[in-house]
Symmetry: C2
Subunit: 459 residues, 2 copies
């Protein structure tokens, strides 16, 4: 059994954490009882804002020795309950550990604390003429959170995901031991790959307290193009053809008119065009303007031949702002359009994305529930939202479950996976189990026990 | 205790493996008792050439139930004893499982069996206008072996290593269970990352029987340039400056004159230039000829300013052949130059490579032993050979040990790792332990036990 926190525990924690960074029971804000989606609510007993690896180590050692559960948290922008203190105990919040420690121009790396925000990191490295390619929509997420979910984002088509940019990690193990994995090295064949095991493990194996990230030289040019199509089917059918053309695209995003209109309403800002049912947004980047121009005109021609009505360059500051702020607001806009929603973040092989989007429409009709979606058409990762729209609880639960079962079964059929970048957390355990089967879940539990030998005995 | 193989075991194995693919005891060729370096020798009791995942599964289940050790092997090109049957038992050789199963042009993947050779894969995908970027020097290694060591090679500077190109794996666990990890998907945040745990685990966790690999469109242009320098110091001092210039290079290889001369002797073929003490070989690739030309002329100018005597384009077929065949023969040429040798495959941060090469010369003097080296200057991975040159056994062992201790200690000091791409195998265990410490080695044993619960109890 986990131990409930008492006066003695708090006294110990206060012996090395100053008062203003330790919040106790009723003083804890409701913000820390849920994540961004708010699917589950539970308060920690103590909330600590840590400042160093050593503090995390001391807290973990004490919690381990005393059977107190701990949950790490960054900005709390996750959508699956991974950053919620479901068992109570201590919440370790890393958001004050937000220093950029070193930019190493010789090795093309940046070393950061886990609480650095994605937008803070991107701004810093770009000012130094470097690029940190992973680009999830949620710019106020922490890097620690991005590592814990192996966040992907829009530029994965060309540049890959967070995993591809983590060179080294400093972590605190459940019993407080500090270990380092990887380093400023490009190649490594020295023992089991703990670094990659930790990436995407959602804070269940250890707490990341420092990360060495790979950078690339900032491309000199970046151009986006918005292509309207008369209907959803013709838009998404164009995507596999664009991929097959082998053009070197940075991003291929799919947007339907209803999602764009929700964002327009939500932001009170006009989108450049709202005359058609579906849009594809393409981005190209590189150092050679002529080469980029050749590439995008070839892709534009291809898209016109595939039914695109037009092609708008997103070149003025005003257009950039209007398109990217709309793209950035999709999640919040859909959330604002309904009383409650749940999400499905499946990833399928790239050539199945068009079929999968059409399938969400079938499910919507079959279950009779609204299912707006948008997503990274170019890398096979879709964000699908199932909206309650005022239904009574019982109907909602039945329909939500029915829709989820259909969507995840189709993803499995297509050789996809439960989550492309949001993770499993609390909410998707059931579907992960179905996807991976008993043996792999058992192996995951075995690995958890290697890092955290007490885990099994406490519940 | 492991069980010795008896008549009953062989009878069972022959019940589903035809005679011509199962070789027993004294009939096993000496080739299968050692790897390419030959540092340790031990025969398996039975050698089986498998043809399918199902065969591997049946063999593994039987071996697991009967406590028979198994070692998987591809081409046997490794250098650290990982493919040697040190405990006897069954050797599963994958080299007849060498079919390319599917080229998926929509998802840019190729699906292969583990016994496909690197050269076979490269030729096949290039004929289809794709590129499989990992490019280790040993082209007759199998893809299964490349995955098991996370092989890197020459193009890692620009394209990364094997890990970056493995999308999905089918494996057989020690007890015979068949599992799949990953798939034809670009993003994944669905549970612990077994796929990356298996990559680089040197066949200790499971046997890879199928792999889905990522391809990229074949760059239209590729140019190499050979730059002679008056001495080793000026050549290697240029490397960090080339990296810092942010030029988009595919490969930066360092070659010293003595290594080139060994290769010349070995091959009986002339190298384009042998007037200077040290050479750097640069490769550029891409789709835009003008852009590549701009890049290499900028880098050539930089190199001249840093002391390069000249810059030869490796553009004619003859020159390409002479340079790349020399580069490909370095290991064999050094091996032919001495009666026995051992190797050190450290990786250090890129900006430490020049210092490390100079340090190998210091060690050579200090220990009074010949230490030729060559390597991937652009990614910090060096191949260092310590040569016996007719010493008596006792002196050789003392000097080898002394040199290794010095080299690995310096790599640790520089934030490097024991192996960049050759792996740990049997030969480097001691140095891995020193590098990672007790806790990480214990965790590795824990992970081995998750995959192979009987492991600990058998020795």
């Amino acid at each position: 059994m986990y131990k409930k926190i008492d006066h003695k525990d708090i006294e110990y924690l206060k012996s090395f954490i100053p008062e203003d960074r330790i919040i106790i029971k009723d003083d804890i804000s409701h913000d820390y009882a849920h994540d961004e989606l708010g699917g589950i609510e539970s308060y920690p007993e103590v909330l600590i804002f840590v400042l160093s690896t050593l503090e995390v180590s001391k807290i973990m050692k004490y919690a381990y020795d005393n059977n107190i559960p701990v949950v790490p948290r960054g900005s709390g922008t996750d959508l699956v309950g991974a950053a919620v203190a479901i068992e109570g105990g201590i919440m370790i919040c890393t958001k004050m550990m937000n220093r950029i420690l070193e930019l190493d121009e010789n090795n093309l790396t940046v070393t950061v604390e886990p609480g650095v925000l994605l937008m803070q990191l991107q701004e810093y490295v770009e000012a130094n003429n470097f690029m940190y390619p992973p680009d999830p929509g949620e710019k106020s997420a922490t890097i620690g959170g991005n590592i814990s979910t192996n966040a992907g984002g829009m530029r994965a088509v060309k540049y890959g995901v967070t995993r591809d940019y983590v060179r080294g990690l400093t972590v605190v193990l459940p019993d407080g031991t500090i270990e380092k994995f990887g380093g400023k090295i490009v190649k490594n064949s020295s023992g089991y790959d703990f670094k990659d095991l930790i990436i995407g493990s959602e804070g269940t194996l250890c707490i990341v307290t420092e990360a060495i990230l790979k950078l690339i030289p900032l491309p000199g040019e970046s151009v986006s193009m918005l292509l309207p199509f008369k209907d959803i089917k013709s838009a998404i059918s164009a995507v596999p053809e664009i991929i097959k053309s082998k053009a070197s695209l940075t991003a291929i995003e799919f947007m339907s008119l209803d999602t764009i209109l929700s964002a327009q309403d939500f932001l009170g800002k006009k989108f450049p065009d709202t005359n058609y049912e579906a849009y594809i947004l393409l981005t190209f980047d590189g150092n050679n303007k002529t080469q980029i121009e050749q590439e995008y005109s070839a892709v534009a021609d291809l898209c016109i031949s595939l039914g695109a009505i037009d092609g708008y360059f997103i070149d003025t500051d005003e257009r950039k702002k209007s398109v990217w702020s709309a793209r950035g607001a999709f999640l919040e806009a859909i959330s604002a359009s309904t009383d409650e929603m749940d999400e499905c973040d499946v990833v399928v092989p790239k050539d199945k994305i068009a079929d999968f989007i059409l399938y969400t429409h079938e499910v919507s009709k079959k279950v009779d529930i609204r299912i707006p979606s948008f997503g990274h058409a170019g890398d096979g990762n879709l964000h699908i939202y199932i909206c309650k729209d005022g239904m009574d609880e019982q109907t909602w639960e039945r329909k939500l479950n029915e829709a989820f079962e259909l969507l995840y079964a189709k993803a499995r059929e297509y050789g996809g996976q439960v989550s492309g970048e949001h993770g499993i957390g609390y909410a998707k355990k059931k579907y992960l189990h179905k996807q991976l089967g008993d043996r792999q879940i058992e192996m995951m539990k075995g690995i958890k026990k290697v890092f955290d030998p007490k885990n099994d005995n406490l519940r």
